[in-house]
């Protein structure tokens, strides 16, 4: 008796943990290496500092429901009295932990998400999460589900059809969403009612409207807003309180409109305009957008699931009864979605071409995480389609490790230089 060796566990203060240091480093770079950031961005910078550097929880009383992909209808979670928090993670520290679970050549995002869930840190409120909604999207996320289950989380597998055009797919997905809506009562303890659903729809619609305004403001030339900040804004939607987020974006929009009048620009007049697509930029892995803008380009739009794909398509529902409202929500989460898990995915090509025109884009930067097969496989068809439209594309394969900055910057600078040379030739 009394022979057990007691190991005193040293508690590292949150702000000294490796991931807090990682967060702080990127935050400083985003804030301090650029001049004239809009004042309204302070809300977002502070939010990241609170959450990732200081570990302050944002959701005290609410029932948090973790989500793993954009296909989860968040209106339903709000209507059932929960708060959806998107768990897709961008930390290299967590990627290292997740490498214990996943094969070596797998996607950084999935590894980092698993690492975060295993440690139950990084996001200060992740330790309060019991339920995780996992749509059956790509192979890696799908198969990660059982490992997440083994960590002690309650995983709800939401089936997603692999093809989205057919009527069968639509009906299949409708049933999947319907079952999810019914099952939510078991998760949050509250049933979805017509009134609660209407309220949730309005709440999300207000956020999406704010996003759309911001999105359209980025059409301005010369550019008045940088892509690194745009990613910070949309990324905050993953975990922020939705009402606060919407108010902050509206405030930012007002400031940007003011900046247009005062002719305060965020980039040089001839800075090449970049459309960003592919694997999502998620804080703090914003190295590619930041490098692009440090090299003299400006990201004016994006087609990724951490930003545009998550917020652009509004769920406009005018059905009368709850059942039909849910069916309508389902359609809106399937049809416009340009996730590369779908076969075929011509919508993504069309969307990129349209965006390239609408935003007067000079070139496209396509990020693919090493090990993300679906984005890697789609890149050549997209490059070909863009080439036919005269839009050059740079394909960059990268992961969360911070050690490839040198090689990435060579590629990005060369791409920006070639876009500038192309413009000069046109003149």
């Amino acid at each position: 008796m009394g022979n057990e060796i007691e190991i005193e566990e040293k508690k590292v203060p949150f702000n000294r943990t490796p991931q807090a240091i990682e967060a702080e480093r990127m935050l400083r770079r985003i804030k301090d290496d650029f001049q004239d950031n809009p004042a309204a961005m302070d809300y977002f910078y502070d939010l990241y500092e609170q959450v990732y550097c200081k570990g302050q929880s944002l959701h005290e009383k609410e029932k948090i429901v973790g989500t793993m992909c954009v296909q989860v209808p968040e209106e339903l979670i709000y209507a059932a009295g929960g708060v959806p928090v998107r768990l897709c993670n961008g930390f290299y520290t967590d990627d290292q932990v997740g490498a214990e679970f996943m094969p070596a050549k797998s996607c950084s995002l999935v590894k980092a998400t698993l690492g975060m869930l295993d440690k139950r840190s990084t996001l200060p409120f992740v330790d309060k999460i019991e339920n995780i909604i996992l749509p059956a999207t790509c192979d890696q996320k799908r198969k990660a589900g059982s490992m997440i289950g083994e960590m002690g989380y309650e995983v709800y597998n939401m089936e997603v059809p692999p093809v989205k055009e057919s009527e069968e797919a639509r009906l299949y997905w409708r049933r999947s969403v319907h079952n999810f809506a019914v099952s939510l009562k078991g998760i949050t303890g509250k049933k979805i009612t017509k009134a609660s659903l209407k309220e949730a729809l309005a709440k999300v619609a207000a956020a999406q409207k704010a996003y759309r305004t911001l999105h359209n403001l980025r059409k301005e030339s010369p550019s008045i807003f940088l892509g690194k900040d745009a990613f910070m804004v949309t990324n905050a939607y993953f975990f922020d309180k939705i009402e606060n987020w919407t108010a902050a974006v509206n405030k930012l929009n007002a400031e940007l409109e003011q900046r247009i009048e005062e002719k305060i620009t965020a980039a040089q007049r001839r800075a090449p305009r970049i459309l960003f697509t592919g694997s999502p930029a998620i804080f703090p892995n914003l190295k590619l957008p930041v490098l692009t803008e440090e090299s003299g380009g400006v990201i004016v739009a994006d087609e990724t699931c951490s930003s545009n794909r998550m917020l652009y398509d509004m769920v406009a529902v005018d059905e009368y009864n709850t059942e039909n409202m849910v069916a309508s929500i389902a359609d809106n989460y399937l049809k416009p979605c340009t996730c590369p898990i779908f076969t075929k995915n011509d919508d993504r090509i069309r969307k990129l071409i349209n965006m390239a025109k609408d935003f007067a884009v000079d070139g496209v930067v396509y990020q693919s995480f090493s090990g993300c097969q679906v984005y890697q496989m789609e890149h050549s068809s997209i490059a070909k389609a863009l080439k036919a439209e005269g839009v050059p594309m740079l394909f960059v394969e990268s992961d969360y490790s911070p050690d490839d900055m040198g090689q990435l910057s060579t590629r990005i600078e060369a791409f920006i230089e070639s876009l500038k040379a192309k413009r000069r030739r046109k003149r």
């Binding site: 050059p392 394969e397 040198g406 090689q407 060579t410 600078e413 060369a414 230089e417 070639s418 040379a421």
Partner: protein
């Protein structure tokens, strides 16, 4: 006399090109990068200037490129090695015909660049963050076989049998594969040729990703290795354009950009 410098600070070597206002080469220099590449770059530049009876004040404009480009604060501006390589190949390749594709093998990366008639980069591809198929690969091979880097070409052409297939694409694994092959009694010639074909296959595959057009220009230190050049031509099925000084193309491109930037400034001033 005004002169212009292009300085290419690579992972293995520092390359300097000095040109005059008519873009004629005054002098060039290749020196090893070492660990103090900023100090080494400056010393090499000063040495080159004085050897040619020039003072630092004669240097009107300097453009840096390569991995160390940003850290050389003495340069007037920096440009990525891809842009510099394109301009250099256009300049050095003019006497051979219309260059549209450039293959560059450096100490730690491999690039394929497509250019238009003005030297503007229209497309490019680079190896991922892995030294497979780069100059480092040749370095390791030579070291394992206990031969000089410069001898690789001779060994290649002394081959009496077929080149050995080398399967590992990773430098580290290739090293153990080479040791295994030596232990099995294979000759150095077979191994050298095998390595050359292995690099050639990888490089041509990379180049095919961007589409091969027109004359193909091959530069970077490894282009001095005739065995590698022969393997590449074999894989490609066409002759390559090898410039007189393959290591200096990128530095030359940077010096041309320095000269043009200077003339632009004079015009607007």
């Amino acid at each position: 006399m005004s002169c212009f410098a292009g300085i290419d600070i690579g992972s293995t070597a520092i390359k300097i090109a000095l040109i005059d206002e008519d873009k004629n080469i005054i002098a060039t220099k290749v020196t090893s990068t070492g660990s103090h590449f900023r100090k080494n770059s400056i010393e090499a530049l000063h040495g080159l200037l004085s050897e040619n009876g020039l003072a630092i004040d004669d240097l009107a404009y300097m453009v840096s490129t390569g991995y160390g480009r940003k850290l050389l604060k003495e340069a007037d501006e920096s440009v990525s090695e891809i842009t510099a390589n394109a301009i250099g190949a256009l300049e050095a390749g003019r006497k051979y015909g219309e260059i549209r594709t450039i293959i560059n093998i450096g100490g730690q990366d491999t690039k394929a660049i497509q250019i238009d008639d003005s030297g503007t980069v229209t497309n490019f591809a680079m190896n991922d963050k892995c030294a497979a198929g780069t100059g480092k690969f040749l370095d390791v091979t030579a070291r394992n076989l206990e031969i000089e880097l410069e001898e690789l070409g001779d060994y290649h052409f002394n081959l009496k049998t077929a080149p050995l297939p080398i399967n590992s694409t990773c430098v580290v694994f290739a090293e153990s594969e080479i040791i295994g092959l030596l232990a099995d009694g294979h000759g150095k010639e077979e191994i050298v040729a095998g390595i050359h074909y292995s690099i050639a296959k990888r490089t041509i595959r990379l180049a095919k990703r961007i589409g091969l057009e027109g004359l193909v220009y091959f530069d970077g230190g490894p282009a001095l290795n005739k065995g590698l050049v022969a393997s590449m031509e074999d894989e490609l099925g066409q002759k390559l354009v090898i410039p007189e000084f393959p290591q200096l193309t990128t530095a030359l491109g940077a010096s041309v950009l320095a000269c043009e930037a200077y003339l632009d400034e004079m015009e607007t001033a």
